[in-house]
């Protein structure tokens, strides 16, 4: 919720509460005061009537407002006032009156003097006051609304601009974050904290990015030298078997080391978000291309691949990472499948899966995605391929499931949309 609407909503909520209480209190108070006032007037009137009566000896009753009646002594009471309803023939309705009874004695006779005044109906008072208070409150509310809006543009204007700047800010672009001065201490404090934080993060980001680049350069160049020196040695003719074996092992280890370094750097780069060109990737297309490329290798191992497509699976991601994922899971399936079996690929709108034959289930399915974990003792494997797969899947919110059924290892990848 926006701050402004939050303020307005709170204001409205409390405003209504205050309005209700004020309404009731004001109505009760004014009712009370009004009656006091009327009673006093009625008393005055009664005294005037009593005086006239005493002077003239009689009084012409005016119904229903001024009445003098002779009563028995036993009925004499203290003067009292009350609300009453009297039938009005003209309106054919009961009309509320305030009534005051006083008692006087003249010449040994007792009289009751009743004076009455018509009252405004309670309902009328209620509606009058409610309308009045609502109008006032409504006016105040509109004024506050206008005022806060005006304040919002004045106070929050630069703040909002800074928020937009922050939204458009990313480490990968070269623009430095420059927040505008708001002239308001609290906001400027916040700006300072954010700027400091982003500077520090940017520095960290750059240094770890640099580290990746340097690590690649510093490690791969010596590896290139070792590998190339080995290649030169291959052409020597007078080597004994032991030397040949050693050179070959050095050569192969170089390959593996280089593969591991590449894999680790890729993992780091995915974390840094250096792959952030998204496009809609068609996995059915990608898998078909990949299987076509593997054709001869598949033939060599007498493997066949069955692809079942119900609908293309499309996911928005970086094409390079999608290819890498496909490359790794297909290689994994090919390497772990016994010869002359079938590799199954199933593609539907929300997921795709790849299965290869196997004798026993993987003992710790959780562990296979860990870096450097290997199920088989094969020295060829770098133990990083599936870690990359997992990283890429996690990066785009895809879920990976492993299952083992009917002698088939199956990896299922679920689209983040489902």
């Amino acid at each position: 919720m926006k701050l402004l609407s939050k303020i307005n909503r709170t204001y409205l909520r409390y405003g209504i509460l205050v309005f209700l209480i004020a309404d009731v209190v004001i109505i009760l108070m004014s009712n009370f005061i009004l009656k006091e006032e009327i009673d006093q007037q009625l008393l005055l009137e009664a005294e005037v009537i009593a005086e006239t009566f005493e002077k003239n000896g009689n009084f012409l009753n005016v119904y229903p407002t001024d009445i003098v009646e002779e009563i028995a002594f036993s009925k004499v009471e203290n003067s009292s006032s009350k609300d009453t309803l009297i039938y009005d023939a003209k309106h054919d309705d009961l009309v509320p009156y305030r009534e005051l009874s006083t008692f006087k004695s003249f010449n040994g006779k007792h009289y009751q003097i009743i004076t009455r005044q018509m009252l405004m109906e309670f309902d009328d008072i209620f509606s009058l006051f409610t309308a009045l208070i609502s109008t006032v409150l409504g006016l105040i509310f509109i004024l506050v609304l206008l005022f806060t809006q005006k304040m919002n543009t004045i106070l929050w204007g630069t703040f909002n601009k800074n928020v937009e700047l922050l939204k458009g800010y990313s480490f990968s672009s070269n623009n430095q974050l420059k927040l505008k001065d708001t002239g308001i201490e609290e906001f400027d404090d916040l700006n300072q904290v954010i700027t400091k934080m982003s500077d520090r993060l940017e520095k960290d980001y750059r240094s770890s990015k640099e580290f990746s680049a340097n690590a690649a350069h510093e490690l791969q160049t010596p590896l290139a030298i070792i590998r190339n020196k080995c290649e030169n040695l291959f052409s020597e003719t007078n080597l004994n078997d032991e030397t040949i074996q050693s050179i070959r092992e050095i050569y192969l280890s170089t390959d593996r080391l280089s593969g591991i370094v590449k894999g680790l750097l890729l993992l780091a780069k995915i974390d840094h978000g250096q792959f952030n060109e998204t496009e809609e990737v068609s996995f059915s297309k990608l898998l078909k291309i990949r299987i076509d490329n593997l054709d001869e290798i598949l033939q060599d191992r007498n493997l066949s691949v069955d692809i079942y497509t119900s609908e293309d699976c499309r996911i928005k991601m970086d094409m390079r990472l999608a290819s890498l994922l496909i490359q790794n899971i297909t290689t994994n399936a090919v390497n772990h499948s016994p010869a002359s079996k079938i590799i199954e690929i199933k593609i539907s709108k929300t997921q795709f899966s790849i299965s290869n034959h196997g004798e026993t289930a993987i003992k710790d399915p959780e562990l296979i995605f860990k870096r450097f974990y290997k199920e088989s003792k094969s020295s060829k494997s770098t133990g990083i391929g599936l870690a990359l797969v997992k990283k890429i899947a996690d990066h785009y919110g895809m879920k990976i499931q492993y299952s083992f059924k009917n002698f088939k290892h199956t990896f299922t990848f679920k689209s983040p949309d489902c």
């Binding site: 160049t221 190339n228 291959f234 074996q245 792959f275």
Partner: protein, 227 residues
């Protein structure tokens, strides 16, 4: 035309290894260790091929490419970089580089790439490669033996061309696999696979030429040579 190559690489040991290799392949190799030196050398003289490292002491090698291309557009630039091709390849190729080789690379692969680039960029450079009675026409990818057209599959063609370009040199199974199938050998268990394919090519050549040019070098790989 002289087959001169300008190598810009800051690691002296790698520079020497590559230079030695290129010399043994019949190229003349001039070395520079940084961008400044490389630009100076290039300014003075035309080189048909520039091998360019990216992480150089005085800057990113990528910045060199526009300079090189502005002077001699025909010059072929091959980036040799430790950086992963996934990101830099795009940048490099956008800036006008012709090829990209990731360290550590196979020297025989480098040789093949240089030759391919020379064929592509300079039409004076012959497009027909001859070895004994084998003739490879690289423009339409056909092979003639004793003047007669022989059918080779795409992979067989790639293998044979790679072998002939790296004549008398030992090619490892890994290098062959990477060159022809474009897969990193680390990720693919391939020993028998290469053997099958080499054997097929060997038989085909023997059938048409009567010679066994592809020798097995025990423990290392294969070598293409006349006895």
């Amino acid at each position: 035309m002289d087959k001169e190559i300008l190598l810009i690489e800051d690691d002296l040991s790698l520079q020497k290894t590559v230079a030695d290799f290129l010399k043994s392949s019949g190229f003349k190799c001039i070395c520079a260790t940084n961008i400044k030196e490389g630009k100076q050398l290039f300014d003075k003289k035309f080189y048909p091929i520039v091998l360019l490292d990216l992480g150089l002491p005085d800057g990113d090698g990528l910045d060199c490419i526009p300079f090189i291309k502005s002077i001699w557009n025909e010059t072929g630039v091959i980036i040799i970089s430790a950086r992963d091709k996934l990101e830099d390849r795009v940048d490099g190729l956008n800036l006008g580089a012709d090829d990209y080789l990731v360290k550590p690379f196979h020297l025989s692969e480098l040789n093949a790439r240089i030759n391919a680039l020379l064929r592509r960029n300079f039409h004076t450079h012959t497009s027909i490669i001859k070895f004994e009675n084998i003739e490879i026409e690289t423009q339409d990818r056909t092979i003639k033996i004793d003047g007669e057209h022989v059918d080779f599959s795409k992979k067989e063609y790639d293998l044979l061309l790679y072998f002939i370009e790296n004549e008398n040199r030992v090619l490892t199974k890994e290098s062959l696999f990477e060159h022809v199938w474009g897969e990193n050998s680390v990720f693919m268990d391939n020993s028998d696979f290469i053997y099958t394919h080499i054997n097929r090519l060997r038989k085909k050549l023997k059938k048409h030429t009567g010679e066994n040019y592809i020798k097995t070098v025990h423990g290392f790989g294969y070598k293409f040579e006349i006895h």
